[in-house]
């Protein structure tokens, strides 16, 4: 009887940067080895999920140095009401995934006018 071996791929948290620019929140994630076809981005309620499959050619041989961890990337973030769900755009280049999340107009800082009497 053959032993059924299902090896699950390791899931790694990708390194990320979050910053504010031009009234949008930018999320930059480092996912080397991930191209457009391997990427999946989903918004489900308040959860924002990014999944990236790392595709590197398998090589046979002895590892003389082994620092790169083999695994797929995944990150789940929670969004609050200030993010406009319809204004989310994502792009991939050189293994970096950049997501621009638009902030709802009503949430942007507004100056309050002072009227002198």
């Amino acid at each position: 009887m053959a032993k059924n071996e299902t090896k699950e791929r390791r899931i790694l948290p990708a390194r990320y940067n979050i910053f504010n620019e031009d009234g949008k929140v930018f999320l930059e994630m480092e996912m080397p080895g991930v191209s457009k076809e391997d990427l999946e981005i989903k918004v489900d309620g308040n959860h924002f999920m990014v999944n990236g499959k790392k595709t590197i050619d398998k090589i046979s041989g002895k590892f003389r140095l082994h620092e790169i961890i083999d695994g797929d990337y995944q990150h789940i973030f929670t969004l609050d009401e200030t993010i406009d769900r319809d204004k989310i755009e994502a792009s991939v280049k050189n293994g970096i995934v950049t997501v621009a999340l638009g902030i709802k107009e009503s949430e942007k800082p507004r100056k309050i006018k002072i009227t002198a009497k």
Binding site: P13, E21, P32, G33, I56, G61, L65, N94
Partner: protein, 152 residues
């Protein structure tokens, strides 16, 4: 309460340094946390490298997300391979407000000594999706050969 004083984090806090150290050590004991890729217990400012020796060749892979060919400098000097470059921070000139910054940026260098069996004349490199793959075939004499045994 309609108005509550906002905790101004820009004001000088003499305990700031200790607080972040304590937070980091506390995080180590949080069972549900995936290990953070940055912080005290992390390799700083250098990309991860794999070196694999096959029967016919050597393959070296380096994780360099965000780098273009122009940011990278690859050189070989008597069997020592040097990968040098600069990982640019796209917001360097602007005063960006970061909520979280885990990605390192700046110049880096990795040197790898290759054994004599590597033929450095026939080196080739490909940069794709942030992974640099370098291949060097082995010199003919170093490749494993089958020796036929004659029975007399």
């Amino acid at each position: 309460m309609a108005i509550v004083k906002w905790k101004n984090r820009d004001m000088y806090d003499p305990w700031e340094g200790f607080r972040s150290l304590q937070d980091e050590i506390n995080e180590l004991f949080d069972i549900d946390r995936t290990p953070s890729p940055s912080g005290l217990f992390d390799r700083n400012l250098s990309p991860a490298v794999d070196v694999v020796e096959g029967d016919q060749n050597f393959i070296i892979r380096c994780e360099l997300p965000g780098l273009d060919q122009s940011d990278l400098d690859l050189s070989v000097v008597s069997n020592v391979l040097t990968i040098k470059g600069e990982k640019k921070d796209r917001n360097k000139e602007k005063q960006t407000v970061y909520f979280k910054k885990e990605c390192w940026s700046g110049s880096f260098q990795r040197t790898i000594s290759l054994p004599n069996s590597a033929d450095t004349e026939k080196i080739s490199a490909v940069l794709k999706d942030g992974i640099l793959s370098i291949e060097l075939p082995k010199k003919e004499e170093a490749k494993p050969k089958q020796i036929s045994v004659k029975i007399s």
